[in-house]
Symmetry: C2
Subunit: 429 residues, 2 copies
């Protein structure tokens, strides 16, 4: 064992996560040296604008706008990619690996699309990529799946892994705000970006689920394998009906391994108030993992932010440094994963929550019952309360049914003359 006295980092980007990483390495320098045996220094940082003032202490770092000075520096053992984006980041990560650098990244979009390619390049160059920070900010998730729960066959991962949508849904649930109001406030408070579409549409959560599912089910999974539905159409009215029925509405990421293959879904769903995930509020994240031996374990914490995410980046850096000092190779290689079948959405089963308006006249329920009955959709709960003029608002919850059959029943129901509008369809977990 040859412990290197000095480990030097090249960092790509110095935004929110980069600043948090630098701050933690500075603040906890002594205890990190105790844990690794090495001094860890950020030597060079790639930035877009060399002259912009920085919030973080950059003493000792050389800022550069030329990435080649990082890749060609033989003193640099390790490249930390916290610049975000896909195409340029992908090129840089591959170049770093080819030059023999280890890579730590927080980039979920990059990994969910090109993870397997990057792991392959890493293997060809006898290096590895660490990416704990790409899911759940500082909450340990990738490492527990790879190591702590390695004894288990993982059956399900289920979680709230997008802080923006959880903040908005919490505001709607607790303070009875409409979606638009809650979104606007989230933007003002910095919990939602000015262009929030990736969060709202479930794309961010789908990227993270792809990364979790790959490790949980040991399969090559990309973001394209994940069915995605966002919260744009969730109305306050549905959250209130859900509460009445004993549920809360959350944007759930849900991955399961079944006999036919993998079921991978991100969607707004009703979950029982008594479920541990129902108590995850505001911008917090939580992931529940079901293993065949351990049963259900849950991990909870802040899923974003400069220091929490930096905490995960630095944990990865510490692991890389231990790998360098002890000549370890990453024992659990993603590229050895096979590609398991993905179950198409039409063949998935769900319970459904349905809200619609119908003319308040005899025979409406008979029409519904026939349409549902023909597709063998059976009903669990019915609420009819709200009435305006001759129009009644009706809420139904079905028992478990195949998506395809529910779709067929809905096609018929939309054609019933008494049905005025279909206002909400949500799944119940």
């Amino acid at each position: 064992m040859v412990v290197k006295d000095e480990i030097k980092i090249g960092m790509l980007g110095l935004g929110t996560v980069g600043s948090g990483t630098a701050e933690i390495l500075r603040r906890n320098r002594d205890s990190i040296r105790e844990k690794t045996g090495s001094n860890i220094t950020i030597k060079r940082v790639l930035v877009r604008d060399l002259n912009r003032p920085r919030q973080v202490d950059i003493t000792g770092m050389e800022l550069t706008d030329d990435p080649a000075t990082i890749f060609s520096d033989p003193e640099i053992d390790l490249v930390v990619e916290v610049m975000g984006g896909i195409d340029t980041a992908r090129r840089y990560v591959k170049e770093a690996l080819r030059r023999g650098k280890f890579v730590v990244t927080a980039n979920k979009d990059l990994l969910a699309r090109h993870g397997m390619e990057l792991h392959r390049v890493a293997k060809e160059n006898d290096r590895s990529i660490y990416y704990e920070a790409s899911v759940g900010g500082g909450i340990p998730l990738v490492r527990p799946l790879k190591h702590c729960l390695a004894a288990n066959k993982i059956q399900r991962v289920m979680g709230i892994i997008n802080g923006t949508t959880n903040y908005i849904l919490t505001q709607m649930t607790m303070h009875h705000k409409e979606f638009e109001t809650a979104l606007k406030e989230a933007q003002e408070k910095g919990f939602a970006e000015q262009d929030p579409s990736s969060d709202l549409a479930g794309r961010d959560a789908a990227n993270k689920l792809a990364i979790l599912a790959a490790n949980a089910f040991r399969s090559q999974v990309t973001e394209a394998d994940v069915y995605q539905e966002g919260i744009q159409d969730v109305r306050l009215r549905d959250i209130l009906y859900a509460a009445e029925l004993g549920y809360v509405v959350k944007l759930l990421a849900l991955g399961e391994e079944k006999e036919e293959g993998l079921s991978l879904r991100v969607l707004p769903a009703l979950i029982p108030k008594t479920h541990p995930l129902a108590g995850v509020y505001d911008e917090f994240n939580a992931v529940s993992i079901l293993g065949d031996s351990v049963g259900e374990v849950m991990f909870y914490g802040r899923g974003a932010g400069s220091l929490p995410t930096g905490s995960a980046v630095v944990a990865d850096i510490i692991d890389v440094v231990r790998s360098i000092n002890h000549q370890v190779v990453n024992g659990i290689m993603e590229i050895d994963f096979k590609r398991k079948d993905i179950i198409p959405m039409a063949r998935q089963h769900s319970r459904f929550y349905l809200r619609f308006k119908a003319k308040d006249e005899p025979g409406v329920f008979a029409g519904l019952a026939t349409a549902f009955g023909q597709e063998r959709v059976s009903l669990d709960m019915i609420i009819q309360k709200h009435r305006e003029g001759d129009t009644a608002e009706i809420v139904l919850v079905t028992h478990d049914v195949q998506e395809e059959k529910f779709e067929k029943a809905m096609a018929k129901i939309k054609c019933l003359p008494a049905v005025r509008s279909i206002d909400a369809i949500l799944r119940v977990i």
Copy 2:
């Protein structure tokens, strides 16, 4: 890298945890071989009675009542200690290490008393001890503290780490059962042992807290450093009063690093209903860890049981096998920990919940106010409701106060002529 095709285990004990471990190694043999590159086999098992029928498939294992056959077997790389108890287990673990075996143990009592000695013997023999299963069953805790959260200075660990007491308190809280009834039912259902004193008195939780605190605060901590108070005196009446005040009663294990040193306490405490730990019911465990970078993260799951605990034992076995195959040494050594000061209980600060009976006459509150005032104990909440004859029951919650001052005030209050009995003193977190 020389991957050993076959790794052979010697196991000490084949009770609940041993059976779970054997079952998982059998059931998930293929995926574990994929993850480690090796076939892992239990070669010999030390048992007390060779002829007792076993619930677990023991094909291929040699049962023995002679431990020497395990220690002297050069094929055995790894000893798994799941026999429990202290003195014999301690001798066996040391012997295994001296014979060059790696050790995995689930024995919290052993580690909380003799951990540092065992780690020293391990180091002398260039081996290491793994003990994820000793705290929180299958919930990953030791590994996250050592690795996933390595970037953080840990400020607090706080948790519910004894399933028996949490089951009893849940029954009292949810079904308004008295302590004795809840204990009896827990024994009937197997959630409490026939001699439940170690659980009830907080000793089991103190052992686990010692192990967590050593890793969280990087200090040599033993069970004797932990202040211990059990739930034997918690009455249903106090749980109901707590509910009225917005709290639930839990047996909390609480470790904090402060300027003056470490504060380590196991005690029944009132925690706010909105705190994530308040929603941890029945035999479940949860630990919240506060780090300077990551903020609060929480880990939740089943803290005991054959398969959940076996899951943690097998995770450790997998790590040992990876260590053997990649020639890694354990980078984070417990024996390098210094011994930090422990803050004595008298110097700790708490809020207190106090229930007592007093004669219902003028001047009672004046006497109380004087006694508390002299020690600068200020009151946050007062309930006076229940009255029998001329005796009133009074419940108080104080603001934060030093234990010593509260004790002094209580000594005076006990002497007030109107005070008939002090019925409960609990801390509020």
